[in-house]
């Protein structure tokens, strides 16, 4: 317990880093992933803007990057990370790598939720004379918004998991804190304090996401 109190400033700093990395990564992956997801969705055969070559290309890219285990992905991405961020370690580099990796996962999640929008509703909009972009932005996205928020929430939980891994290779955050000060120094209390805080984060994010999705879907 004394050790934990002693480490408290580092603990809060680590918590702040986890929040920072998660937020940056989510913003990045959210934007990139949504674009990828929309790309996959609209280019599908029979989609809003069917385009087989582009659809295949995006699909191939996603399928190539998504299965790479994140720890390895971090290493693979290092040269690119250094190019963009200026360094390969630290929370900014970690957030960047997480953002790229999560974008591909979000891409598939977004695609799935967009596909589940009723084709009849899209046909109704077409019958009224709406064009494909208009249908995407004013019909498909609003119709899928509730499930999309649940999808993003699901991803945030995975992102927190990824920050721990990024932390292990020099990214900082609660995961690194638990490993360095808890696990390696035989301080179970320190480790558990970090775990509990991560659980609290996850729970808060999940609650907000569920509440938001419910409010939008009115269920």
């Amino acid at each position: 317990m004394d050790r934990l109190i002693e480490l408290l400033p580092d603990f809060w700093k680590a918590a702040g880093e986890t929040l920072y990395m998660t937020t940056i990564a989510l913003a990045m992956a959210g934007v990139l992933g949504t674009i990828i997801g929309i790309g996959l969705y609209v280019t599908r055969p029979g989609g809003l803007m069917p385009n087989r070559p582009i659809g295949l290309l995006i699909g191939l890219l996603v399928n190539f990057f998504r299965p790479i285990p994140f720890v390895i992905f971090l290493a693979v991405l290092q040269p690119f990370t250094r190019l963009v961020i200026g360094t390969g370690i630290g929370i900014n580099a970690g957030a960047f790598a997480i953002g790229i990796a999560a974008a591909f996962a979000i891409g598939r999640i977004v695609e799935q939720h967009l596909v589940s929008v009723s084709p009849g509703v899209i046909e109704a909009a077409r019958a009224m004379g709406a064009g494909p972009w208009r249908i995407l932005l004013t019909v498909v996205m609003p119709e899928a918004l509730g499930p999309l928020i649940l999808g993003y929430t699901f991803v945030v939980v995975a992102l927190i998991d990824m920050t721990a891994m990024a932390g292990a290779v020099g990214g900082g955050g609660l995961g690194a804190f638990a490993l360095v000060y808890g696990f390696r120094q035989f301080e179970p209390l320190v480790m558990w304090a970090a775990i509990v805080l991560i659980v609290v984060f996850v729970h808060l994010v999940q609650s907000v996401g569920t509440w938001l999705a419910r409010a939008i879907m009115r269920r």
Binding site: S118, V121, E123, A124, M128, G129, A130, G131, E143, I216
Partner: protein, 367 residues
């Protein structure tokens, strides 16, 4: 000039697999829909009627043939130009297809926003439409809070928002119970009557045609096998498919099983007389039979009313000398349609037949 005209229109879909043939959904269809018509298109599922209606607003491009809507050849237009044409054609659907994330008001306002109406005009128009369909209190509700009938009324309000000249109804009542179906059909009739909107109704239910349509086309395997005035098609269906559909709502012609049952219960020759408003008279038939001194009884039949005109089928068991019966039937045949039901026990060819094929409609008893 017809408001919608199809000439030799065909729609084929490419084969789905290596071993399958291409699918001909609509096969060489020609039909004209006049302004103010309620044009019914009936057929079983897979007959191609849903594809046909989507050719009219070019949601599906035709493979060949010409389709003109309000004088414009839609087969020659670009996608961008088609969007403007579609804005002038309302459409309602079996599953309503309301935007679940939008309120009733926003659903109805959507096509108006597309058409570039101002906010004030949209508000006024939405209020007017909500009152017209009787949902003035539901503006802020979401579709999931409405019953099926209310959803379809919102669908109708949304389809009529931009004051289209044509309304396409694709199985608009097929997901509704009979009572609600009736309400929606009444509303559609009012749309046609009060606003002069030409309506194209796709359905597999003959009673929808019977209550709403003025003209009807019967579709089977992608082809229009019979078309014409509703009274004509109902009172004298010529195609076997039409006869089956007419038989689902028109009572009066005994089925083969019922013929056997009638024969077992009644002596004499069974003859069906078909009457149509304007060209034949029941009274004269009975008079002719009585004058020939024949004994007869009414064993089966029904009189139907289609848009204020009546027609019906009455089956009588007639007893008397064969020659006397034949003579009476010859007389009657000059002013009414006569169909003698053959007795399978006797040699074929004895009974004289009227010129038209034996009706194959089914009846459920005397009405």
């Amino acid at each position: 000039m017809p408001i919608v005209s199809l000439s030799s229109v065909t729609k084929t879909y490419p084969p789905t697999g290596r071993d399958t043939a291409e699918v001909v959904a609509v096969d060489d269809v020609s039909l004209d829909i006049e302004k103010g018509d309620v044009y019914g298109i009936i057929g079983y599922s897979g007959a191609g009627k849903s594809t046909l209606v989507r050719l009219i607003n070019a949601l599906e491009p035709a493979t060949s043939g010409r389709i003109t809507v309000d004088g414009v050849d839609v087969t020659a237009l670009s996608e961008r130009e088609l969007r403007r044409v579609r804005g002038g054609i309302g459409m309602i659907f079996q599953q309503f297809n309301l935007f679940s994330a939008k309120t009733v008001k926003a659903n109805i306002a959507y096509p108006l926003k597309l058409a570039g109406w101002s906010r004030g005009d949209i508000d006024a128009r939405v209020d007017e439409l909500l009152r017209f369909v009787g949902l003035a209190d539901k503006a802020r509700s979401y579709p999931e809070q409405l019953s099926g009938g209310q959803k379809q009324r919102v669908g109708i309000a949304r389809a009529l928002a931009t004051r289209p000249a044509i309304l396409l109804a694709d199985e608009a009542t097929s997901a509704l119970d009979p009572q609600t179906t009736h309400e929606v059909l009444d509303l559609l009739a009012r749309v046609n009557r009060e606003q002069g909107v030409t309506i194209v109704v796709i359905t597999h239910e003959m009673d929808v045609i019977q209550t709403l349509a003025t003209k009807v086309a019967v579709m089977e395997k992608g082809r229009v096998v019979e078309q014409g005035d509703v009274f004509e098609v109902f009172s004298r269906p010529r195609n076997p498919a039409s006869q089956r559909f007419v038989g689902t709502v028109i009572k009066g012609i005994p089925s083969p099983a019922e013929q056997a049952s009638l024969r077992a219960r009644h002596r004499g020759r069974l003859v069906t007389f078909s009457f149509r408003d304007g060209d034949s008279s029941q009274a004269r038939v009975f008079l002719d039979l009585a004058e020939a001194g024949l004994e007869f009884e009414l064993v089966y039949g029904g009189i139907n009313d289609i848009r204020g005109r009546a027609f019906g089928h009455l089956t009588l068991a007639i007893r008397g000398e064969d020659a006397a019966v034949d003579a009476a039937l010859t007389t009657i045949r000059s002013h009414a349609t006569v169909t003698e039901i053959d007795d399978p026990a006797e040699a074929p060819g004895r009974a004289e037949r009227s010129g038209r094929a034996e009706p194959s409609g089914r009846g459920e008893g005397v009405r």
